[in-house]
Structure formats: C-alpha cells, structure tokens
Homo-oligomer: 127 residues x 10
C-alpha cells in the first residue's frame, strides 16, 4: 500500500489499461468540472466542465492519466469548438473505443452559455 512517489505533471500522454470485460459493450462516463484553458484571442482564462462517455474496446483510459491530461490544457490557448474536438481526437487515439462522446460545457462569456458535444462512432440506440 504505497502511493506513487513519482512527480505528477501535466501531460498529453494518456495511459491506458486493458478493458476487464472486452467481450461486453458497456459504458464509462467521466464528469470533470476542473477544465481550464486560455482564450486564444485575449489570453484570458476559460473554464469548462468536460464530460466524457465511451464504450471501451481493448483499452480503458486510466483515471489519474486523464486528470493529468486535462491539466495539460491549463496554459494553452484553445477555442471552445476546437478544444472539444481535440480532446475527443486524443482520447480516441489513445483507447480506440467502440464509440465515444466528449462534451465541453463552458462558463458564460458575453452573456452566452456554450456547450460543444462531439462523438466518434455511434452509441447503440436502445442502450
């Protein structure tokens, strides 16, 4: 029972582990209210809740790696639409899921509340 002694830093590397039930199509959801990046135009901070939902195939996203990945956007400039698609692309590349959906739910800017939702593959209709 010894916890990790390695330094933890933000990283775009997404560690994975083998899906414990690869024969079954099932669903994993992550709600992450701690996303922040910068506005590419003004350099001012933006904030969002990121929601990820996917059906794993051979690999699952490791929870702590996901935390460090989300952290890695903190000092980068990103538009709402682009960064939501970027997170989806990175996660799909890392775990090659049956399907995956990423939602970026951004705090109000200019009196407008923006949510971007992108998907890879098709969620089964009746599930």
């Amino acid at each position: 029972m010894v916890k990790d002694a390695m330094p933890t830093r933000p990283t775009k590397t997404l560690e994975t582990f083998p899906n414990p039930s690869p024969g079954r199509e099932y669903e994993i959801s992550f709600d992450i209210p701690e996303f922040t990046c910068l506005c590419p135009l003004t350099g001012q901070p933006d904030f969002a809740t990121v929601r990820i939902r996917y059906a794993p195939a051979e690999r699952c996203v490791e929870l702590k790696a996901l935390k460090l990945y989300i952290w890695s956007f903190r000092d980068e400039g990103h538009f709402h639409e682009a960064v939501t698609n970027r997170i989806l692309d990175d996660l799909v590349a890392a775990v090659a899921p049956r399907w995956m959906e990423v939602e970026g739910d951004f705090l109000v800017r200019g009196g407008i509340h923006t949510v971007v939702r992108a998907a890879h593959g098709q969620r089964p209709p009746a599930q």
Copy 2:
C-alpha cells in the same frame, strides 16, 4: 493580447469562422438569457431566453457576433412565432449548418408561458 478597440454595436451581420472539425458531425449549443424585443401591437418589451443548437458544416457562428446580433432585436417589434423563425433563418443563411434548432422561451404574458421551437434539417436520431 490586445482586446478589440472597435466600437461594438448591435448588428444583424453574423460573422463566422471556419469549422475546425468539418469532417465530423458534432453539436454546438448556445443558451442566451438576454433576448428582448418589443410587442408589435403594444410596443411594450418582451423578454426571452434564446437557445440555439446546431451541427456546423463549413462555418461556425462567432460568439461575439452572435451577442451583437441578439442585441439588434432590442428596439424592433416582433411576434414570438415570427422572431424565432427569423433567428433560425438568419443563422441558417449565415452558416449553412447540417441542421439547426432555435428555441425562443418567452416570459409570461396573459398568464401563459410560450415556447417556440423551430428547426432546419434533421438532427440525427441516435446522437
């Protein structure tokens, strides 16, 4: 990192930018609780929350332009049903989306709470 020095005024012009992920059908939502116009019959103010949801094709709506566009209705007379369809028409003309939905959720008049919801194209069923 210099913020816009141009005067900001209400305008019906809807600036757009290229969709950063044109190859993927995904969804962008805006909730705008700051819509107001005038009743064409009495000249009295009406208030609504406008909700926009769309799948971009080649172009996306620019957030600040959307704010100025919503502002442009402030001194105009519009009926609930007509103005909701008008906003949909203007946005469709500006970005030619795969599909788009506009909802006008109006504050109570005559003890009745009215919501108008119009769509252009068809939202994919399983998304």
Copy 3:
C-alpha cells in the same frame, strides 16, 4: 401604441392569425397554470395546469384569445378526461394543426394526482 379598449370576456371563440412560417414544421408550446372549472358531480372547483404543444399549419392560436378561451371554463362542469379532450378538439377545429398535444395536469383529489394527455396527429419522431 394604443391598447385594446374592447371589453374582454370569457369566450369559446378562438381567434387565430396566419402562420408566419407556413413552409416549416415547427413547434409552439403554451403552459397555462390558470385553468379552473367545476366538478360535474359536486359543483366544487377543480384546478389544473393546461399544457398545449402543436405544429401550426396555416393558422396559429392568438395568445389573448387563448387566455379568454381558458377562462370560459370557469363556471362550467367538466370531468378531467372529457375537458382535456374537449380543449384539444376545440383547438384542432380552430387552427387545423399538423399535430397537437394537450395535457391537463390536475391538482390532487382524493390523494390522487391526475394528468390527462391527448394528441391529434403524430409528432415527428426525431424532432
């Protein structure tokens, strides 16, 4: 900017106006928490929220006329099931919609909360 000087009275007449977007199938919703009628058995008052949702074809229901129509039930005896269907019949006769749904959500009687929901035509599945 002169407001109506005509006497306003309860009436079963449902004034309409031309649909401003007859070429598009879209949806209008009214929430009316001010419905009251009498129980036909005991003569005691009943109370309901009436919810109307429809897709207009050639004509739309006029908001003030709808208010006066709802008022017209105040001194009449009606059962829950019958009056909800009656409102649907009257509204369909007045505007001949593509489809329409009426919901009567009645306050508790005998410890039971009753909701009656009737529809004319078919709401499109994917909307």
Copy 4:
C-alpha cells in the same frame, strides 16, 4: 363511517373546533394552491396560493370549512393587498389565535410576481 350528505357550498362562515392542546403554544400551517378571485378593475380571474400559519388559542380552524371559505372568493372582485388582509381578518375573528400569518402568493400579472404577507400578533422568535 358515513360521510357528509349535506350540500357543500362556498361560505364565508369559518367553523372551528376546540384546540386539543390549549396549554401549549404550537403551530399549524395550511398551504392552499387553489385560491382564485376576480380583478376588481377588469373582471378577469386572478390566481394565488394562500399560505396560513398560526398558533391556536382556544379554537382551531376546521379543514373542510377552510376549503369552503377559500372557495367563497371565486366570484368576488379583490385586490391582492386587500384580500390577503381580509383573509387574515376573517380567520383571526373566527379563532382568536395567539398569532397568525397569511400569505397570498399570486400568479404573474404584467411580468410581476406579487406576494403579500400579513400577520396578527407576534410569532415567538426562537420557535
């Protein structure tokens, strides 16, 4: 086990019964979402939830009588401020409570939600 066969009609008479615990200061609350009367200016219906809270002295308000009393306002014209005070006056006259509070919570008129709250006597601070 025979229920009342007497006709039930709206009435301003407020029947009471002896307080079962006259030696203790305690509190009775009624929430009544079924109040309606008429606007004295336009004759149009108004709707309110009436909330009553009191500490009985020698007499308590009878529940069914309270229902018929609330019913009795249905065809009468009353302003919001006056009718709330009137209900308080009538109830105080009927049961002479240690203290009593009446709240009239009216549905939106002119975009404004009005609540009137009047009290007779003083609610104990620490209760």
Copy 5:
C-alpha cells in the same frame, strides 16, 4: 349538489365509466403516494407511491373507486413484485385498456430503494 352519503370502505371493486373520447388514443396518469400494505414475512408495514398510466379503450377508471381500491391493500400481506403485477392485472381486468403501465415505488428497506414497473400492451413509440 349533494355529496355521497354512502359509507365508503376499502374495496377491490373498480368502478368505471365510459371513455368520453373512445375514438382517440390518449393517456391518463395517476400518481398515488398513499399506498401501504404489509410485508408477508414480518407483518410490518410497507409504503409505496403507485403510478398508473394508461390509454383507455371503452372504459375509464373512476377516481374515487381507485382510491378505495388502493386502500383495500392496507391490511394485506404482499411482496413488492407481486403486488405491482396484481394492481396491473386488476386494472386491466376492469377497463381493458389499449395499454397500461403500473409502477410501485417503495420506500427504502435494508438500505435499498426498489421500484417495480409492469406494463400490459405496448405504449405507442412516438407519443
């Protein structure tokens, strides 16, 4: 305007009345938070909210009869799964609906919140 003078007692008899709109498929819902019966193993009381939703064919359930029917379980021993199906069977026998759904939502036992939902026939998909 004379209210019922007959004794009201719990009864398994479910009185009905003719559907006022037999030509239309529509939906009636009852929420009844006052169901109680006994645990057949321990004799201790169980509590549930019973929710009924159906499309009437020729007959509708009479509201007061439904109240007395629900009351009739008060001193009987029933398991959660069985009693929910029993209520569905009794109601289907009484009104022969187009379709019907009964939900028994039971208060926590052993740290577990149980809901049983049974249906007769098929609710139309797009309604």
Copy 6:
C-alpha cells in the same frame, strides 16, 4: 452477530437508552415518511411524514422502538392537530428531553396541505 428473534409488533412503549454524552446539549433528528392513521370522522386513511428533533437529557429514544411506536397509530383514528401533540407528549414522557419538536406533515386533503408543529421546551437560539 445474531439479529433479534423476538416478534416485532406495533407498540406505544418507547424504549430508551442512556444518552452517551449527557453533559453536552446536542440535537438528534428523525425523519419518518411512514406514518399513517385513520380519519376519526370518515375512517379513511391519512398519511404523514413525522419529523422529530430533540436535545436529549439523560435518555435517548431507541430507533427500533420508535419505528414500532409510529406503527402503533396505523389502525387508530386521530385528528392532525391532536396526533402531533400526542406524539410529542409520549416522547417527552419517555425521554424527558431538554427540548423537543415534533412536526406532522400530512398529505393533501380537500386541496389543502397541512403541517402541525409542536414543541416542548425551548431550542437554544444560537445553535
């Protein structure tokens, strides 16, 4: 680890145990959504959530005994005001608390939601 093999029956007896912290004034709350008794006039069932809050002195109410005590009202006729005071009297007699409050929150009858709240002694103001 053997659970009680004694028959459990409804009972007015309220078993108690010694307060584990008699030197400190602290607060215990019970929310009991499973109270039912009969209406003394009609014999029909009434339902309530009973809420108890008290500061123990020498004795505390035993949880299982409280459950059996609440059960004991199931087949008895009680008015709302009287039964709430009765529960307070019984509990005060059983544990002689520093102060105690009992609230009976009854389901709607005649369109009116009734809550009765009675207290013994005085809750400290600043707690």
Copy 7:
C-alpha cells in the same frame, strides 16, 4: 369591464393607491425578471431581476405603474450599484413605506454574478 384604452408608455412616475390596511404592518413583495438598462461605459445592454419587498404605510405601489417604471430604464445607462439605489430612492419617495428593500440581481458579466441589495428603514426582526 372595460380595459384601459390609454397609451401605455415607460414613465418614471409611480402611481400609488391608499393602503387598504394602514393600521397593520405587513409585507408586499414583487419579483420582476424583466429589468434591462445599458452599461454606461460600453452602451451594451445589462439584464437583471429586480426584487422589491416593503411594508406600506399610507400608500401602496400600483402594479401597472411599477411595470411602466421598470420599463423606463430600458434606454438609460446605469451602473449596477447606482441603479439599485436609485430604484429604492424613487419607490421610497413615492410611497414613504415603513421599510423597503430593493435587490438587483444582474446576469453574469466578466464571469461574475453581481447582486446589489439596498434597504430603507429596518425590517422587524421577528416577522
């Protein structure tokens, strides 16, 4: 039963009527989700819910006049703190209440939700 035929326009004049219960200290609340004015720096629209609570002395605020008064700020530039105090000043001047409280609850600007609350006189503590 003839409704007003006079033109209705925004106005800073606050019509009043005699308090129907001048001998009793009681409370009137208005919730007005339809306030809008302009930012004095940028000219862009601001939006707020205005909440007013007061105890009338000799005069009460007339509801329709209050609506027109709130409307009168639509084209004026005001800071959040100043306009909330201004509304309080105007209303106090119009009705000379026992006490009054005005709350301006403004929509998000710069990621910050601002509420300003100002009072004239002292609300009785135990009410």
Copy 8:
C-alpha cells in the same frame, strides 16, 4: 411474525425466489447507495451508489440477499470498471434475467466523477 434469528453476514451467494409473473416482461429497479470497496492500488476505500435494473425471467433477486451481497465487497480491492461488470455477471448468473443493467456511480476521485454502466441482453426499446 418472527423475524430472522440466523446470523446475517456478508456473502457472495445471491438467494432468489420464483418470479410471481413469469409470463410478463416487466422491470425491477434497485438503488443501493451503500456500496463500498477498496482501491486495489492504494488500499483506500471507494464509495458508490449501485443501481440495478432488470426484467426477471424465472427467478427474482431476494432483497435481503442482495444487501448481504453488496456488503461482501467491503473488504475487497476492485477497480471501478471491473467491479461493475462483476456485479452484473454475478446477478445474471443468479437469476438469468431477460435483460439486466448495472450502474456503478462512484464518488469523486482526482476531481473526476466516474459512472460505469453495463448491460446483459437488450432492454425493449418502447418500454
């Protein structure tokens, strides 16, 4: 009316009873907010609400056995994804349902809220 005198202990054995309505496809749901196990890496406790929904075939899960089964994970190390699938596997083995869904809704770890949802068989679409 004698309650169980047998020792109750955590157990992986899932007792069942015959489905009282085997001829009907219906749904049983359990919400269990009392799941806890250990993190296999750190040995620290994890907490979840487990939600089970299924349509029984020949056998139903016995409620008390389900409680003891959930208890049996208390001192075992399990990953979120694996344990949710394990519970589904065990329950399917015990009752061979028409279909079953298990959801593990875990408390926040690393700022991330994780939900795992796995199903066996196919829930009927229109139910």
Copy 9:
C-alpha cells in the same frame, strides 16, 4: 513536486497545522460523504455524511489527516449518537477551536432517517 510516498493508513491521529489567520474568527466547513462504520448490535455496515464546521484558534485540521481519521471508523462498531459526539471530541482535542459543530447524517434504517448534530462552544449569532 513529489507526492507522498509514505504508506497511507487509517489512523485516529489528527495532524494539524498553524492557523494562517489566528487573529480573525472565521469558519471552515468540511462535507465528507464517505463515512462508514458498523452497527454494534448487528455488525452490519452503517453509512453517513459527516459535516464539520469550526472556527480555528491556533491550529487547523489537516485535510489528508482528516480523511485518514474518517477512514479509521470503517471496521469499528458505533452507535449514531455516540460516534457523532466522539468525532466532535477528537477534533476538539486536536485543534482546540473557538467553536466547532459536527453533524452525522445517516442513511435510512428502519424507514427512519437520522441526523445527529453536536457542538462545542458557541457559534457567533450574527455571522
């Protein structure tokens, strides 16, 4: 940036750190939904949310130590009333606060939801 490599185990030791603002009376709140212990009579698990609120004097509770302290009850038998007072006693002994309040909010047992709230010292009234 190296995270702790020491084994983390449940412990009754409550590490503290110096209050960074000892000259000011201020308030710290912890909500901990992850408390579990055993019932001393049956050995079965109990679950609670523990809420702690205090004004530090010279020392503050260290967050990670608090987590390990809460963990330390996992395999111990405790009654609701006693364990809430025990946590208050331990925390008071560790940090000698100006005042402190501990609330144990336990999941339903026997259909009853129990909350125990104990305080040390007096929270300032106007804060």
Copy 10:
C-alpha cells in the same frame, strides 16, 4: 462607445470607484465560479467558487478589476484557508468596507468538500 483597447492582464491591483450611495448601508454580492490556483504541496491545480459580500463605505470594487485580481492567483500556490483570508485582506485594504465576507468553496479533494468563510467587521443582524 469604444471598448478598452489596453491589454488586460492578471493583476493584484484592485481598482475602485466612489460609492454612489455612501450615506446608506447596503450590500453588494459577487459570485465568481472561476477561481483557480495551485496546491503549494503538489503543484496541482485547485478550483473554487469565490463568493464576496460587502457593504461599501466610501469606495466600491470595480467589476473588471475584480476579474483580473481573481485571475492573478492562477499560477500561485495557496492553501484553502490562507487564500480565502488573503482575498478578504486584499479587498478590505482596497475598499475599506463597513463589513465584508469572503467565501472560498473548493472542489472535492480526498473525498472532502471544503468551504472557508471569513469576515471583516459585522454584518448588521436584522438586514
């Protein structure tokens, strides 16, 4: 109507403006869900909603300056208790309010939700 062209950067400087109603004690509240800083031990990001409530004396906090001030903590290491007191100290130094309260409501760490609330001066009791 020209918006600021100056670069906007995070800054600890808190610009102020003269209180428009210095003769009245009133209250201004800011809810800021966009606070983030770093954990001084691990360097990992922390997130909080900061709530500020104060009664201005001679000066008020300027809204845009407040936004830049909150931003200035983004790359700094701060403990929960210290940073909340620091914000209070800075704001008090900037505007010398009659009283002020600052609340830091931090996202979950180690399964514990922490709120720190500090005040300068005394909020009037009856307001």
